[in-house]
């Protein structure tokens, strides 16, 4: 236990600067600083650093909050997901592995979307087993790949960044879809698990999120601003949901055009 008159430790000097010093040590520290100019200089330097940091960054908290951090907007996207996740569980239970679930906005989508997800799942099944030629352009050439696919799709495609989930971009290819060109990107984890991201123009402007299982493969898909997206992978709902959710967040709210 540090007594009233024991020598001052460096930790106490920091505590003094940060207002964390017990009241009964304050006098001792102040007396110490008066007698030790080197320590007093250090303490002053720390206080000056703190002032500089606050002077530089305090203003950020006064800036207007950008729309993409709007809580209502963020939670609307979240609600769509939780509704979907709940429905996907039910679908998996009822149909035991071969079911499609259609959300409330089924009228807007219908058959075209069903075909869209079927295309995505077919592409997954076809290419994910490929060892030597799973893609046309490797992930190492991502800028080129994205530029090429965007050009063919006719709108700007962004390759999701799934590194935080341990998934790396293997590469991509261009595919014929039901309504024109489709872009297909493949991601791979360290254990060899593969997920694919499929995008094409859609006929409906917007749909709810949907989940579809076909045997051992499943897909989450949705349409936003007439662009259809499908995320396919092994029918492990939790993991697939996590991947799809990450991609969804990146497509929905990142500002377009950010490289």
């Amino acid at each position: 236990m540090i007594g009233r008159d024991s020598p001052v430790l460096e930790a106490e000097l920091h505590a003094y600067v940060d207002g964390e010093l017990p009241a009964d040590r304050r006098a001792a520290v102040e007396a110490w600083l008066a007698a030790h100019p080197d320590d007093a200089a250090r303490v002053n330097a720390w206080l000056a650093q703190a002032d500089l940091i606050r002077a530089r960054y305090a203003g950020v908290a006064q800036d207007p909050v950008p729309p993409r951090l709007d809580l209502k907007r963020l939670s609307r996207a979240e609600r769509r997901w939780s509704r979907l996740a709940a429905a996907a569980v039910i679908a998996a239970f009822i149909a035991g592995g071969a079911a499609g679930w259609f959300g409330r906005e089924t009228l807007a989508g219908g058959l075209a979307d069903k075909m869209f997800s079927a295309d995505a799942i077919d592409a997954y099944k076809l290419y994910v087993v490929e060892v030597r030629h799973p893609v046309e352009v490797p992930g190492a050439e991502e800028p080129h790949l994205v530029q090429w696919l965007s050009k063919r799709l006719g709108y700007e495609l962004r390759a999701p960044d799934l590194a935080a989930m341990g998934l790396k971009l293997v590469g991509g290819r261009l595919l014929p879809g039901s309504s024109g060109a489709a872009a297909f990107l493949m991601y791979e984890g360290q254990s060899g698990e593969r997920f694919t991201f499929y995008c094409a123009r859609a006929s409906a402007p917007e749909t709810a999120l949907r989940y579809e299982v076909a045997g051992s493969v499943a897909a989450f898909y949705w349409v936003d601003e007439n662009k259809g997206y499908a995320v396919s992978g092994p029918a492990n709902r939790e993991r697939l949901l996590e991947v799809a959710r990450t991609i969804y967040a990146q497509m929905e709210t990142r500002p377009a055009g950010k490289s």
């Binding site: 460096e10 930790a11 500089l52 006064q62 800036d63 950008p66 951090l69 809580l71 997901w81």
Partner: protein, 163 residues
Amino acid sequence: MSAFRTSLEAAIPALRRYARALTRDAELADDLVQDTLVRALRSEHLFHEGDVRRWLYTILTNLNRNRLRTLARRPSSSPIDDADAPDTAGPEAGGRDIERALSSLVDDQRAALLLVVLEGLSYREVAEVQGVPIGTVMSRLARARAQMKAYLDGERPALRRVK
């Protein structure tokens, strides 16, 4: 709006400030804040009691640490060049210097220093945010301050002259 949402909303400006100082990059900082908010919304049901603000600092600090780890694993991605950050240092002439001094710190030390100095958290709160004992927080703080002082006193490692 629920009390949780209200606290969340109220914390956004401070989170942006912390994230900006942590990354020295406005765009990246808001990405971090956005991810933090999304996670918080998603885990709302897990949050029973305690300080929402501290919980948010914890999420953001962890997300940033994961981000830096990912960057470290990907040598091809371009490093965060703080010299490219928009120059909004304002009237404070030391604005750029303080940014560069912060950049010279190890991530965990920078986070500890900013949480104490900029965000006004207590040592105990920082220990909870960083998931380490208080003693570790104090040594991070001490190392951060020594490094900052060395940097600002002119012992700059020979890099990053203003371009």
